[in-house]
């Protein structure tokens, strides 16, 4: 085992991660490997449920409220304060629906698809530092990892689309893939321009790199968030991200009024819930990535313990943005979408990369 290299991927950043934290709290770390494993699992469980809770809030309730607000209506308001308990009602309603499987759907692909969609989205959160020590793992290749796992979702989508044995589903699934691959590259290349600044792929490092102020005048200092440093990249990434998660104006894969509901046409009951959940998880994951690499992660005024709050604020802001666009911007056609991706964003992202590299090189 020669040199720093071989051991390098095993050592963590200086940040204390959630597993150890929980280990200390519960005293599980006294029980050797088994204890550690249990602690790790607990941590994962915590994060998983945190995300689940957020999507639960977002999906049935916040979404409706926001859309209603944009169209000047009052959405759900019967159950509980502001109708918050609609969440429970919806959960029960959806879970207790009959599961209708189309006659010539080919299983098990049809059954696996929802699990893949939901699970893959959840995986991404493993490496995202949410502040206040809510940070499951911090591998050196964090960013690449995030991009990788978020790519898995499109596999789930095409599985869903193909296995439902339905024209709309098929077209939807294909559209989803075409769209994902078209915008994957701009996304990654733009992310790369951030890596050029940070000089690392490790999430905690990237966040740390954004900590110190960029400029400070008149007492208040503008943090060195990469959204500020390189707004061009920020915008690019934002757009590409919307396309990735398939939100307006890029929601062609589902495109109600075009192809009934795209790949999820034939899904009902719990399967539908899972896919739905997966989509929202993806929105949040995208938000998480943006927040981490462009908005300084959990950074914000006040003590560091508030990190998680700031982080959640940030990702909710981005969620708000998606809903805003959903009600404000019309959908692009599939051909426009593809051509925007290949002829527009791809070129722009490369331009951004080269520009960043040159500027960084010249400044340094």
């Amino acid at each position: 085992m020669v040199g720093g290299y071989a051991t390098a991927p095993l050592q963590n950043g200086d940040t204390i991660l959630l597993p150890e934290r929980i280990g200390e709290l519960t005293g599980l770390d006294g029980f050797g490997v088994g204890g550690e494993l249990l602690a790790t699992f607990l941590a994962a469980f915590v994060i998983g449920n945190l995300m689940l809770a957020m999507t639960g809030v977002a999906g049935p309730w916040a979404k409706r409220k926001i859309t209603a607000a944009f169209t000047d209506r009052i959405a759900v308001n019967r159950l509980g304060p502001g109708g918050i308990f609609i969440i429970l009602a919806d959960a029960v309603r959806l879970l207790s629906k009959e599961l209708v499987v189309p006659e010539n759907a080919d299983r098990p692909a049809y059954d696996l698809a929802p699990i893949v969609v939901a699970g893959s989205a959840l995986l991404g959160f493993a490496v995202i530092p949410m502040g206040s020590g809510v940070h499951l793992a911090d591998p050196e290749v964090g960013l690449a990892y995030v991009f990788a796992v978020s790519g898995i979702a499109s596999l789930g989508l095409v599985m869903a689309g193909y296995s439902s044995a339905n024209k709309y589903s098929l077209i939807g699934g294909l559209r989803a893939v075409a769209q994902n691959i078209a915008y994957e590259i701009p996304l990654v290349v733009t992310g790369m321009s951030v890596v050029i600044f940070a000089g690392t792929l490790q999430m905690s490092e990237i966040v740390a790199a954004q900590a110190e102020p960029l400029v400070s005048f008149a007492g208040l200092d503008i943090p060195r968030w990469y959204a500020v440093v390189n707004p061009f990249a920020f915008v690019l990434f934002l757009v590409a991200n919307f396309a990735e998660v398939g939100r307006n104006p890029f929601d062609t894969p589902e495109a109600p009024t075009e192809i009934v509901a795209g790949y999820q046409t034939e899904y009902s009951s719990v399967y539908f819930v899972l896919i739905y959940l997966g989509e929202f998880l993806h929105i949040f994951l995208g938000g998480g990535i943006i927040a981490t690499i462009f908005l300084g992660g959990p950074a914000g005024p006040g003590p560091a313990e508030l990190g998680i709050v700031w982080f959640i604020v940030k990702i909710w802001a981005i969620f708000l943005l998606t809903q805003w666009l959903r009600s404000a911007v019309p959908r692009v056609r599939i051909d426009q979408l593809i051509e925007i991706g290949w002829k527009g964003l791809l070129v722009l992202s490369f331009a951004n990369l080269i520009l960043t590299a040159v500027i960084v090189g010249v400044l340094a």
Partner: protein, 137 residues
Amino acid sequence: MNDWIAIGALALVGLLIPLGMMAVSYLLRPTVPETSKRATYESGEIPTGGTRVRFNIQYYTVALLFLVFDIETVLLFPWAVVYLDAVESDSVSLLEILGPMLLFVAILLVGLAWAWRNGAVQWAQTPRQAAADSDRQ
């Protein structure tokens, strides 16, 4: 504790939650067997034709294009990571660290330009283009 074990744990959770929900709904939901509702959904009409429709060839071309362009990012990542250190260290000149990437991207862009001009990323074609292309097929 190894990061990847933690990630594995999360994957486990990510698997358990859906399964759990499935289990729950399995307990809750009714089953009313009725063939008509299992028919392929085509807005309530009688399903016509096969469901494996032939779709635009462009889906393939775009996919092939993606294969190539996505892999090139793999080759760019290491460069991006070391770039800052390399620039700050005086051992290598800027050209040495920047040049190769520029060349690499330039070649890629030549490829993209070619694909672009030859309609690989062009989704819909006007009849005139189609006519012009027909001799190329």
